[in-house]
Symmetry: D2
Subunit: 252 residues, 4 copies
């Protein structure tokens, strides 16, 4: 259905002594790099290193802010009031923009991380805080969102450019939401299944839900995970399959 | 010796539930607000609140970054390698610039905080990191520095605009450096002595050292502390004494 | 209804440069000190200082652990899985016990802080984690809880000693729960009203709900807040009113 | 020279989502596990997991506290006043003891981490703080130290049991100190050289310094690093070589 698709992954998710995933290998494969902003992961030197390499490879840099929760990697839902969450996000966006510019590139889009992204599907207050943050920081930045939910609605109401993404390796439920990680089968590990899902999304605009039904899902970007074993190999297969089918190109 | 002087104070030095000093009262008295950037103090919502009020009052906002050390309030010297320190600083500068712009103003200068500022007097590596950070972030920003030392030298070599500041309530040694806080008499608490020191600096370009000698000190800005008991009263007296003597105006 | 009551307050809730409330004044008035454990507030030196003074004044020390959330002061609900929350709590209990012993006293009871305490009223998983922690750390420690809810039930099922507490300055709803801070009238500020509520609890075993009805509330301990303006004055009045009515004595 | 030697490694050095080294594999090879205490690395759940496995394998658990510096992994020197450092250490010791006991074992010794351990060789104030902490927490715990320096001296003056350790894979200078990591050749990567150094220490009581001279070094414990590539393979070789030569047994 689409002649062009973007491929994104979460990068710079180490912190100090700790690294996570093979950022440099993934930067050879993706067209957009979601760069952690320091609150759930990502230290300034690591953010710079990813931005520098992204600049060299022509990969677009997106800011990927999350909850202030290093110990939980931003994967634990937190109740943060709207104004406070907005300011936490603007702070992170500004910090990563400074690092990106120092590295010779810039922040070209925003995608929020982890539990915040999941919660913003149903929590109108946190969805509003995210939209407030992008609007207050730089209203020209596209916001990457899931195919349905409060965040998508709020972003559209605020006239932000939205980019709907699909997950390569996450199972979908019949209502188009992600199957929670706590459920069996939530993460696809069979490379053939992952490639099949990606091609179904890109060429048919739909995804096979865990219940077996076909769910419409029109995505301009496909998200790969970089922190799983075999992530680079899987990413290579997805990229090759996409290259054989559509043009793979950043949206921003 | 100077018809104009700036009055600065460290603000937004609370964190979450904790506040420090009376930011709003001080914003009625100073012309430049050194805004904490989140690593030694300062959370995004608190940074915004100070920036918004500064914008309303016409007070200039400076970024006031420090070591990543909330528990030590940035007052404990740390050995941080040059590139890592540079990136920690750029991150903070970008974060506070985003908050300032969201609040309707901007970062107009840089002044580093606490132990980092003190160490940069003698540590050429950390001084270089600070200069790298300002240069890499926005080379047009003036850097507020003490009247002598490695940081001043490095900033001048890099053609940064430097603004020399003097401390209203800190005792000076005969060599023009600050008497360390650990020594008796390091902090002036008698308001008359503080006013006297400020006027001596502004009108004579010199300060009476703790040893009794007169030390030349030509400062374009005077620093007040906001976190001591009686800080606001003292600041009012200093401001009144300056208003009666020179024009009090931001340098940036 | 009771000849004896305990008076507790949350102490050691500063962090590094930041202080909160007048710990030393409150230690003259309370019989039990809930000592912050470092995750939502409280640094080791501050914890020691409160424990040392509590030891001198014969005030019992309780551990007062919370979510790992300095920026939110433990007042933001977090979704933390049961085993992880249990371990976060045991870590804090052990840390504060070590500080208490180094200060010549010991941890004599446990009371969880803020949003964790509130959430454990209805969240059975987090309530279970708290009980797991006390059981796994030292099953002889009493647990201070609110008058109803999942935490009370879970603690009783595990045969922990429970101590029900009432809040001196928080309004109650007709169902015996606290009126959320976000609602008008949630915090009582009129000292006469506070004293009246405390005496009603202690002598009648009931509290006047915000709706006007009388709610039964049999509490062995009354909680004062130390971080509000006028906290010490209010605490003095409550202590005097109690001294005139019952014996004020630690439960542990 | 010694019929018995202990083999120790730093474990539990992950944090939240981030892991470091293969703790479970190393627990098959060492006799003592230095467990990170949460300030430079180590979260409660990770600490428990290592302690549980150590208990199963009969490996002794030591507390391995460091500076409060997650971003720097405790490898950046910090100036922390003596009383504050002491309390930071007692807090960590108590926290890990609680985790160890909940896991069915206990803390049997103390070894400080990283830059703190290095600095305590020459900084008498920080050395004293470490001794204060062990004395104030549990004076029966042995302290693992390097073969010379202020910490060794202070511990002996305080009648603490000291256990001198040698590093398997770090080059020594002619004065018996470690070659700083910043110098070429500071870390031995050739397994044959590592085994040779370990056997020289254990059987001859000396080590070949980087300058070529033989330096006396009588160590009761040998330290392996677990966070380098090939760490487990190297540890296996060292263990096998030691098993063929002496009895490998915990000192505590």
């Amino acid at each position: 259905v689409s002649a062009v698709v973007d491929l994104n992954a979460d990068l710079a998710e180490g912190f100090g002594r700790w690294s996570l995933g093979d950022d440099m290998a993934l930067l050879e494969l993706v067209t957009s790099a979601n760069v952690a902003c320091g609150f759930h992961a990502g230290d300034p030197a690591g953010i710079r290193a990813v931005c520098e390499r992204a600049a060299e490879r022509g990969v677009r840099v997106g800011a990927h802010p999350g909850y202030r929760d290093l110990a939980g990697f931003g994967r634990r839902e937190m109740h943060v009031p709207r104004a406070e969450l907005r300011d936490d996000l603007i702070y992170q966006l500004g910090a990563v923009r400074a690092m990106a510019r120092a590295a010779g590139t810039d922040v070209s889009y925003v995608k929020v991380h982890g539990a915040l992204n999941n919660r913003a599907v149903w929590d109108a207050e946190q969805a509003a805080a995210i939209v407030d943050a992008v609007t207050g920081f730089d209203a020209d930045l596209p916001l990457v969102v899931m195919g349905a939910g409060q965040l998508l609605d709020a972003a559209q109401r605020a006239d932000l450019e939205v980019v709907i993404e699909a997950y390569a390796d996450r199972a979908y439920a019949a209502d188009g939401t992600l199957v929670p990680r706590s459920r069996d089968g939530a993460v696809l590990t069979d490379p053939d299944r992952v490639v099949e899902q990606v091609l179904s999304i890109v060429t048919d605009g739909s995804v096979r839900a865990i219940e077996g039904t076909l769910v419409p899902l029109r995505a301009r970007s496909v998200c790969l995970h970089g922190d799983t074993p075999g992530a680079v190999t899987l990413a290579s297969r997805v990229r090759a399959a996409l290259d054989a089918t559509v043009a793979v190109r950043a949206f921003a």
